[in-house]
């Protein structure tokens, strides 16, 4: 055991720790811990009052045990007692315990908050700092409620010590992040901005993080920070390396602060004031110049700190995207780094160049590095660097180099790491589609993809090639010929059989003139693969066969014979059996005309965003695919798919996280099936009536209406999965917790969920859900404006190999954002009259579906979120309510009157709102509740 170096040295603790370290086995460790826990418990329970020192020591031991990974279920009270000790070290350990082990035991939080309150008002700076650290570490909503108004005062008070200011700034940042609604802007905000001018560099360093966060949310209120930040930056950049004393780090002046200043500036467009802008450009040039100077030290810390600033400056240059000169210099600098011997710098250069590639000013300059990047893809030893190189190739791709880049990516795929293959496949598929000049190249590329990495070609990829071939008649013959050739290979991937089956079923006639690919040859080729394929593929092949009967009457007898054999017509799989029986019957009783109509060539698919792009986006998380790229691909896919209606303006969709916004087209291509997936849910089925576009009609909204008047409960349940919901709303904000429970004993793999409102809506969930396990997902909701369509939740996972796909309406309805409003009878009717325009009123008379019991109705109306007003309506049987819907853009006042008629078992519901769409929507929602 080493000598305890400093401080108090709780010897008992040191002995305990070394005992644990000497344990030879996990069992021995657990035994020793249990012994210690028993000892501590008896001390805490004992009659003898413990002195502060012992209490501190035992609490510290508990903390150690917890940090080892064991559960601790007592000692919280003793830790809270330590908070009110007047000995610093005892208080400190108490706070540490609370910070690490806090749970939302409300009783305890109240005690903790009391102790914090005492310390904050103690005027003892060390105590104040401890309390602030604790708030910043825990950052719970209860703490925000207690302290969100107090901390701004501490932060800007003239007599607050510097160290306290630093802690207060970051403490406030944490509270703002957890509970933005509780941190109210006010007089303090302007004074916070001026902390950028503070003499104490530490205060500036801490405050700027707070200012950056606040600026992102309220850019207008904080825009004075731009000029202050520029002048601060300019002073740092031009200072000699020793001017800033201890804030100089390995000869680099204030690197952390510099980075944060550059980061803050990225919240704003380029400064409008010419002088400020000139000064800033000067700073950026100086930073770029310094990169060329010989290093002041050989230490890696020196170059890291210097380059950290450089990369942040380049980010700002890219953000402004308006200074061609700087952009090109940035690109050249990154080009140098691409060949640097430090792996870290090569990695960052590849990453940073990726964003540079999307700027029109530097796109060409980035392209000049193509050989280096391709080389990196081939030779880098670290997979994460190779991944960056692949990303950059993807970003720098355009019409001029698409063929080269796609070819390089394809050849890299043959040896690529398993972890990135799927993503590479998606990228190749997207590039091939986006930059296809001739479609034969596109078809070749996708078939190559299937050949090289068939296992990683997801459904989206092969669906897409089929959609495109169907929509472009100039490529159909070539596609048929190419798949026919590809199927000749003795071993070909099942995905190839799927594409082949589909395309020959549709367009086999285009190559049937050649005796080498006569109808029977085509059929025999396809059928030779049949027995090696999975059920869904076989189902698809059966559909191709019936199409053959229509295309080539001469194959009818052969195919009927195949359909008739026991292995088809008595197949144990229901879907296959049904197809065989039905196709056989169809081919024998239908006339040629009927057959030709039923089995007509598939109509063109409606134009939509490539589902592959959506998939890539989902893989990379929101934000990975920029809006511009999205628009770009929309345009491109428009060209590819021929004329068609453009979807809603993508820029609108991408920028409104409103629950009413439509999907980015993500859902449109995904199959939706409520039943567990079987062969029948195969998406691109030759016989499905309208192709995948019809699938959105199958959204499951059974659970939806049950949540209009309540916030918690079970949204969905089938044999596999249960989805529970807990939600809370405050003004125009809401938070929804989704609990996904696996009811089986088998793991769900590739579990992904997508909410169809773009923006920062959700965190990805764990991709695996163990049997019997439950995972949780949190959605933050902001109501921007009134809406009627609920957001959709799409859930996909694999259960025993079968893909499950489910789309649910999330129960987010406009009434969730109600604030109840109490008012007297007179006021009510006055307002009622004010809202007398016909479109402001919505009325419905409907039959009661549920009990007309007064208490039940009242409970529902309260659940709705409005205030239920007594003694307002002259008829005591009637119910009236009032409330205001809070959206970000406006408030909508709503009045409601519900008149039951017990005899007739009917209701009359009347709503009057200051916005007509709201009256209508509320009326629709409510009419189904009573």
């Amino acid at each position: 055991m080493p000598a305890v170096s400093k401080g108090d040295g709780m010897r008992g603790l040191a002995v305990f720790i070394s005992d644990i370290r000497n344990c030879k086995s996990k069992e021995a460790e657990i035994k020793r811990i249990n012994k210690e826990l028993a000892n501590i418990r008896s001390k805490f329970k004992g009659d003898k009052a413990l002195d502060g020192y012992s209490k501190k020591k035992y609490v510290c031991k508990l903390l150690f045990i917890f940090l080892l990974g064991h559960d601790i279920d007592f000692g919280h009270m003793e830790a809270v007692n330590l908070l009110s000790s007047n000995k610093y070290t005892e208080k400190q350990i108490g706070y540490l315990f609370i910070s690490v082990l806090v749970n939302s035991n409300s009783e305890l939080i109240r005690l903790i908050n009391n102790a914090i309150k005492n310390d904050l008002s103690s005027r003892n700076p060390t105590f104040m700092c401890l309390a602030l650290h604790c708030i910043a570490n825990v950052g719970s909503r209860e703490m925000a409620e207690a302290f969100a108004s107090e901390i701004p005062r501490i932060l800007v008070a003239g007599d607050t010590m510097d160290s306290v200011k630093q802690s207060a700034a970051l403490c406030l940042l944490r509270l703002y992040k957890t509970s933005p609604d509780l941190v109210l802007m006010g007089e303090w905000t302007s004074r916070v901005v001026h902390l950028l001018n503070d003499q104490h560099m530490g205060v500036v360093t801490a405050a700027i993080s707070l200012i950056t966060c606040l600026s992102q949310k309220n850019p207008d209120e904080f825009k004075t920070c731009v000029s202050l930040a520029v002048s601060r930056l300019s002073r740092i950049v031009s200072s000699a390396s020793t001017d800033l004393q201890d804030y100089t780090y390995y000869f680099v002046p204030a690197p952390w602060l510099s980075c944060k200043l550059l980061r803050l500036l990225q919240c704003y467009p380029p400064p409008e004031d010419g002088a400020v802008k000139g000064r800033l450009v000067e700073c950026l040039e100086t930073i770029l110049n310094k990169a060329q100077e010989p290093p002041k030290s050989k230490k890696v810390q020196h170059s890291n700190a210097k380059n950290a600033i450089l990369f942040e400056a380049i980010s700002l240059i890219i953000h402004y995207d308006s200074e061609p000169n700087l952009l090109v210099r940035a690109c050249n600098q990154l080009g140098q780094f691409l060949q640097h011997r430090e792996t870290n710098l090569r990695y960052l250069a590849l990453e940073s160049m990726c964003t540079l590639a999307s700027s029109e000013f530097s796109h060409e300059a980035v392209k000049t590095h193509i050989e280096t990047v391709i080389n990196a893809l081939k030779t880098e030893r670290d997979v994460s660097v190779r991944q960056r190189a692949a990303d950059l190739l993807y970003a720098m791709c355009d019409r001029s180099n698409a063929k080269q880049i796609v070819a390089e990516m394809l050849s890299y795929l043959e040896t690529a790491d398993y972890s990135i293959r799927e993503e590479m496949v998606l990228k190749v598929a997207i590039l091939a589609e986006k930059y296809a000049v001739d479609y034969s190249w596109y078809v070749d590329t996708i078939l190559n993809l299937i050949r090289i990495a068939g296992d990683y070609v997801s459904e989206e990829v092969w669906y897409r090639v089929i959609q495109i071939v169907i929509n472009r008649d100039d490529v159909q013959g070539y596609a048929a010929k190419t798949v026919f050739e590809a199927l000749q290979a003795p071993a070909c991937h099942e995905n190839m059989v799927k594409v082949g089956g589909y395309i020959l079923g549709e367009f086999g006639n285009l190559i049937a003139g050649d005796p080498r690919s006569s109808p029977l040859v085509q059929f025999n080729l396809l059928h030779s693969k049949f027995h090696l394929c999975s059920v869904p593929t076989r189902a698809l092949l059966l559909s191709a066969y019936i199409k053959f009967i229509n295309l080539f009457p001469e194959t009818k007898a052969t195919i009927q014979e195949v359909l008739r054999c026991d292995s088809q017509i008595r197949n144990s799989d229901v879907e296959l059996q049904q197809r065989a029986v039905e196709y056989l019957k169809l081919s024998s009783i239908a006339s040629t005309d009927v057959l030709a109509t039923v089995l007509e060539e598939m109509p063109p698919f409606p134009e939509r965003e490539s589902s592959i792009l959506a998939k890539l986006k989902k893989k990379k998380g929101p934000g990975a695919v920029s809006v511009t790229e999205l628009e770009d691909s929309k345009r491109e896919s428009g060209e590819l798919n021929g004329a068609g209606e453009r979807g809603p303006d993508p820029s609108v969709m991408a920028s409104t996280p409103s629950p009413s916004a439509d999907l980015l087209g993500i859902r449109s291509a995904a199959p939706v099936s409520n039943a567990p997936a079987s062969a029948g849910s195969l998406l691109v089925d030759v016989f499905s009536e309208a192709g995948p576009a019809a699938s959105s009609g199958a959204v499951n909204d059974d659970g939806f209406l049950r949540f209009v008047c309540k916030n918690n409960g079970v949204l969905f349940e089938n044999q596999l999965l249960q989805i529970g919901i807990k939600s809370e709303y405050r003004q125009n904000l809401g938070r929804m917790y989704l609990f996904y429970g696996n009811k089986t004993s088998v793991q769900f793999a590739s579990f992904t969920t997508t909410v169809s409102c773009p923006g920062e809506l959700h965190k990805p969930v764990e991709p695996l859900v163990e049997g019997g396990a439950q995972i949780q997902q949190v959605l933050n909701i902001e109501c921007l404006t009134d809406f009627s369509d609920a957001p959709l939740l799409n859930i996909k996972f694999r259960y025993g190999g079968a893909l499950q796909n489910l789309t649910l309406k999330l129960p987010v309805t406009i009434n969730k954002f109600f604030q109840p409003t109490e008012m007297a009878s007179q006021d009510f009717f006055q307002r009622w009259k004010q809202l007398s325009q016909p479109q402001q009123e919505a009325q419905k008379i409907f039959k009661a579906n549920h009990s007309m019991d007064t208490e039940v109705i009242k409970a529902k109306l309260l659940g709705l979120g409005m205030a239920l007003l007594d003694n307002v309506d002259p008829n005591p049987e009637n119910y009236v309510c009032a409330g205001v819907i809070q959206t970000k853009s406006q408030q909508v006042g709503c009045l409601l009157r519900l008149e039951p008629n017990a005899q007739a078992q009917m209701y009359r519901l009347t709503l009057r709102c200051s916005k007509d769409s709201v009256s209508k929507r509320l009326c629709e929602l409510l009419a189904q509740q009573f």
Binding site: A14, Y88, T205, S209, T343, L348
Partner: protein, 158 residues
């Protein structure tokens, strides 16, 4: 903003964990397990950054200890690497050539130093002098407050 920092040994034992975002105990354990495994599997010359879920991981090995931080997408990797180095310098200065054992036996100190340096996932005070001054002041308070202890305590039996 930094989301969390983990210190772990070459054997994969966690020595310090600091979470700046609210996560359940279970999630924390899972994240630590995943990351420790991922990082220990990497070869020494590989780059210090990797993408992990939607976060950037920045890590560096000092002797037997790995220091690993998770930062958000817009955060700067290199400056995070130097956050790690500055923290190592602070520990080194405080303990006098710090080693893994110092952090094991004085884990509470390692947390206190970290809290002075980073708060809420952001740099609070980057000056080495100022951070150590704050900690030393606290130690001074501590020594004054020390009360005489029993014999049993002296030999570590309670």
């Amino acid at each position: 903003m930094m989301q969390f920092m983990l210190l772990f040994s070459r054997q994969g034992k966690l020595r310090l964990q600091k979470w700046y975002v609210p996560l359940s105990d279970k999630e924390r354990k899972k994240i630590s397990r995943d990351l420790v495994q991922t990082i220990l599997a990497r070869k020494p010359k590989m780059c210090s950054f990797l993408e992990w879920r939607d976060l950037k991981i920045v890590y560096k090995r000092y002797a037997s200890l790995y220091f690993c931080c998770a930062v958000e997408d817009q955060d700067n990797e290199l400056i995070t690497l130097e956050i790690i180095h500055r923290y190592v310098e602070l520990l080194d200065k405080y303990f006098g050539s710090v080693c893994e054992l110092d952090i094991i036996f004085n884990f509470e100190k390692a947390y206190f130093i970290l809290d002075e340096f980073l708060l809420g996932g952001e740099a609070q005070e980057t000056s080495k002098k100022n951070v150590l001054k704050a900690i030393e002041q606290a130690d001074l308070l501590q020594e004054e407050a020390e009360a005489p202890r029993s014999v049993l305590e002296e030999i570590g039996l309670t």
